[in-house]
Every structure is written in C-alpha cells, then in structure tokens.
Amino acid sequence: MASLELRSVHKSYGSGLADTLKNIDLSIDSGEFLILVGPSGCGKSTLMNCIAGLEAITDGAILVDGTDISGASPKDRDIAMVFQSYALYPTMSVRDNIAFGLKMRKMPSAAIEEEVARVAKLLQIEHLLSRKPSQLSGGQQQRVAMGRALARRPKIYLFDEPLSNLDAKLRVEMRTEIKQMHQRLKTTTVYVTHDQIEAMTLGDKVAVMKDGIIQQFGTPQQIYNNPANLFVASFIGSPPMNFIPLRLQRRDGRLVALLDSGQARCELPLGLVDGESLDGRDVILGIRPEQIGVASGEGALASIRAEVEITEPTGPDTLIFVKLNDTKVCCRLAPDAAPQIGESLQLQFDADKVLLFDAQTGERLGLQGKRQPVERAGNVARFNSR
C-alpha cells in the first residue's frame, strides 16, 4: 500500500527516436486501482517498466509514498508485476516460478508452500504445479505469471494485460478474484487492459493514453460519460460511439442537430446554448449505440425512421447499422426487437446523452450545463480527427 505519483515523466528508447512517453503526470492514492488503457503501441508497457524500474526514465520523477525512487533498483521498489509476455523462468517448475519471489524475500518455506497452494487454487492451476512452462498452454502460462505476482504482498501491483489469453468465463472469475483481493488487501495497483468491462468495473481510476500522452484521467464513469475528446470517446465503449459530423443550427432559441436518414429527417434538441458561438458551427455529434433505441411511436420526439442496412447478432444483443447523414450508425437492440435487413424502423435518441466535439480539435464542447466539468490529467494533445 503506497501512493504513486509520476511527475512529468519522459522516456525515449534511444537518442535518435522520438519520445515514447511524453510528460506523463499521474497521481494515485494509496490503495487505489488504476486502469491504463490505450491503443497498441501507445506506451503502456513502457510506462509499467518505468514504474518497476526496468527501464530508466529519461526525465521526470517517480514517487512512491512521496519519496523519489527514480534511481532505485527494481528489487528495492517492492513491486510485483505480471508481464505481457509472461516471462516465466523456463528452467523452473510452475511451483518454483510462483515461490521464487517469496524465497527471495526469505519467507519460511512452510509459509511459501501455503501461499503457493492458495494462489494455485485461486488460479485453477493446482494440477500443473510440477510442470515446466514449456508444457503449458498459453492461458496456463499467463495464469502462472499472474500467480507469481499474486503470491507476493508488494507495495504496488503492476498488471500488464494479465488476462488477455484467458477464456471469457475464466476471465470473469479472475476479474472477480482480483477485485475481491484488492478490496481485501487495498494494494495500490496499475492494470493495463484492452477489455472494456475490466476497464470499467475493476478500477477506481482510468487513464487513457495515446502516443505516449495521457488523454484523460478520471473515474470510469467520467471517462465513459464525459470523454475529454473524440479519441477517448471513440476508444472507450464497445461497440464504439457513433460519430456524426454535422452543422449545428438554432431553432426556436434552442440549438438542434439535424439528422437525415434518407427516408426522414429529425431535429435533435441539444439543451440550452451556452454561447451564441455554436450556431452554425461544424461539430461532430457523438452518441453511443445503446443510447439509440426503438421509439415507442411514430412521432416521438428525437426519433427518426431509418432503414436497417446490416444486422449483427452478438448473442445478448443484436447490433443494427443504419445510415444517418451519410454516416454508418450502430444501434444496440435486444435480439427480439431486432428487425431484418432492409426493414425500416423508428429510432429514438437519448438526446440528453448526446455529446458534441469540435470538428477541428476533437475537444469535447462543454455544452450541457448539468454535466460535471471534464477532468483530465497532464497534457492533452490536440486531437486530429481521422
């Protein structure tokens, strides 16, 4: 249990190369659980390595409990880590892999045995304890890697995609275990994941990275509901948010967005205008697939008739795709409510939830007064819409 703070951390892999981490500022309290997400290659693993002391940072400082540890060696930082590449000790059995860190910390062997047994049970690898890593499947290896970290009681846990090779069921179980363990032990944790559910449910805080820059830092709900920019909005949520470029207009003193499905048009009311300035401005309207439903009647407010172009049953839901303003828009419906391709249906927008982004910068426009101000960490990059 320790607080962790990064102060304008920079990291470059070589003098010729561009910085992989750019001015990272982050601070999490003792016992907090931080989720790190971002596209592949954005620097998540690099950041983890820097915190663990496996890569030297080029500039800045890393503080644990207020003490600068930038120069400390990995073994003195008391951190446990799950590596994305597992990095199991090939010559040791699974048992010894898990026990190694404990032995190094001079735990009595009876206690080690107990701990190994506990972790093995938790991860369902009891029957594999005497195998060598080369005799394990991918997911089994990943669980051993996990076990190696969980057996210890460090100041900080670092998990780099620890569940990526597990099946959904096991993943849910593991997720629950991690969550419970965290609630019990309250160990400060940084956790990299690509799984939306994990990102949303596991952590106290989420940091969204892109190209070595932290785009937004906040609670899961903030990130989901009030993304700082187009990138965060598009990155979080699966299926992703729909983005419809359009020009804002003023109708009866209210700002509206005009939608056109080819079959019909509708005006989406956008709450009170903060300033005159938005009138006639080009923006990108964001709405999530689950925020579009089937309207109860033909003439309902903020609803539009549209033709279904594609349907995709995912099991619990069915996704349908329609064209609005010449943009493909995804809506998530219950399987029963889902129409056939080519059918038309009346779609209902949850106008309260609609977000607006600046078409140039990608920044979210602080339109709706009722929302909390957007929280962000560090430097926010200009977002170049793609």
Partner: protein
C-alpha cells in the same frame, strides 16, 4: 471408416525432404561408425593379442589386461587422472562462470580483457607446458623470483614433489582452458531472454541470485558443452604432461593418455597400450554415459 488413402502424389522431392535431416547427418554417422567405433573395435581386438612392436593378431586372451593391472605405473596414472580431471574441470568451470558473469556486467574494455583471458588457448599445449615448467620450477621461476626479491623463506616446489606435481598440471591446464570456458559461457549469457531477468528483478532477486537461480540454470546446455570439452581435454592432456613434466618426477605425474602412448609407440607394447586405451574408455563409459543419458533423455526444453 474408409479414409481415401490417396496419400497425395508423393513425388521424389517430397520423399527427399522427409529424408533430408537423416541425409544430412548420414556422412557424420558414417564417419562416426568408422572413425570412432570401427577404430575402437580394432583397438579392442588388439588388446586381446600379443601385439608388441607392430600390430599382430595372435590371440592371447586377457593377458595384456593382466599385465596392465599388475603395472604400478598404470594405477598411478589412473589415480592422477581422477585428481587432475576433477580439479581441472571443477576449477575451470568455476573460473569460467565467475569471470563470464563479471564480464557480463557491461565492463569497460570488455573486448580487451576477454582477449587476455582467451589468449592462452591460442598457444599449443607444448608451449604452455614449457612456459609453466619454467614458472613453477623451484630453481628458476616464481619460487626463485620471490626469494630473489627478499622473501627468503618462500618455497614453492610442487613441481618436483611427487605428491604435489599433479596440482602443477592442474594450474597450467586451467590457465590454458578456462578462457575458452569463459567464452562459452559469455556466448550463453548473451543469449538469455532479458524479460526473464526483468521478472526476476521484480521478484526481488539480487544480482547474484538472479545469476545463480535464473540464468545459470537456463545455461544448462552450456554447462554440458563445457563439461564435455573439459573432460575431453583432461583425458587427452598428453602434450601438456609431455612438455611440462614428462610424467616425472619418477612417474608421479603420468596420465593414462601418456601411458597409453608410451606403451603403444615408444615401448613397443601395443597390446598393453590397447588394453589401457580400452580401460580408459571403460572408465569414461562408466562415468560419462549416465551423464550423457541424463542430459539427452529430456525433452527439447527444460
């Protein structure tokens, strides 16, 4: 179930591909069968004959072995080999590992130091033997030098002490071969997956225990190579003994290879020489084969 066994057009090229691995090792296999085992067999046959000056094929049964067993010199040589081999292999491995690990610590001028360690290997055993004979000679070398420099009581006369001369051979042999062991281990160390080292660092292992418990165990194949090489050198260190002590004082520093050579070629007792070669092989068989077995039995990776 009738599987249509149209095991596709097995073109000659396909067959070739399948046999390729075996074809590639075939020449070696042939060479091994003739050059190693054929000759071993021939030596075995000679050891049962009365061959003396030149090979002859008159069968005398185990007579040559009886002679060998009666020969005090043979037992001295065998005992020497045990002492020499054990110390030489052990010390070379320790030095090899130690210095390789130290060299692995991003040392300045690593290349230069490495070359210094390696150069003794460049010299032939004859030169090594001569040089060390001088250095260890009580009247000429280190012993004299230290006394010349005023350390009157100093006495280092192992080379002329029948009970200690064998350690002199060990010193010279270690000096010569340990550099190669260093190179071997260094090559191994450079190939270790860095992510494993990282994991161990996180697990709180200090540098020594990372090496001892993570890296070195994964260098098991390198140990294997080194042990094979070193025992090969130990068993065959003929030139070294010839140049350094010629088996003396008396025959206190004789080794089986020397013995075998002497009897086969210098003394015209080829039968005894062959018998000694077979005994040597037998002993190696007893020691080495279990080791070979345990090393090779396992799966691809450990």
């Amino acid at each position: 179930m009738s599987v249509t066994m149209v095991l596709s057009k097995a073109s000659p090229l396909d067959a070739l591909q399948r046999w390729l691995p075996k074809l590639v090792v075939a020449p070696t296999m042939l060479v091994v069968m003739v050059g190693f085992y054929g000759y071993i067999l021939w030596t075995l046959v000679l050891s049962f004959t009365n061959s003396s000056f030149m090979p002859s094929y008159k069968w005398v049964g185990l007579q040559q072995y009886a002679r060998l067993i009666d020969n005090d010199r043979w037992w001295v040589a065998s005992k020497n080999l045990l002492v020499f081999g054990g110390l030489f292999i052990g010390i070379s491995l320790v030095i090899g590992v130690l210095l390789a690990v130290l060299l692995d610590q991003r040392i300045r001028r690593e290349g230069f130091i490495r070359t210094i360690y390696l150069y003794p290997m460049a010299l032939s055993m004859i030169v090594t033997g001569t040089a060390w004979q001088w250095l260890l000679n009580p009247g000429l070398g280190i012993d004299k030098m230290l006394r010349d420099w005023g350390w009157e009581g100093f006495r280092f006369d192992w080379l002329v002490d029948p009970n200690r001369v064998i350690y002199c051979l060990v010193i010279a042999a270690v000096w010569q071969a340990s550099g190669f062991v260093i190179a071997l281990f260094l090559a191994g160390l450079r190939g270790v997956d860095q992510s494993i080292v990282r994991a161990a660092q996180i697990d709180g292992a200090s540098l020594p225990s990372i090496y001892l418990r993570i890296i070195l165990p994964s260098l098991r194949p390198v140990f294997f190579s080194a042990v094979m090489i070193l025992s090969h050198i130990a068993i065959k260190s003929f030139d070294l003994v010839a140049a350094m002590t010629a088996g003396g004082p008396g025959y206190a520093s004789d080794l089986p290879a020397m013995f075998m050579y002497n009897f086969t070629f210098s003394r015209g007792q080829m039968g005894v020489g062959s018998a000694s070669a077979m005994m040597m092989l037998g002993a190696i068989l007893a020691i080495l084969v279990p080791y070979l077995y345990s090393e090779l039995r396992g799966k691809r990776h450990d």
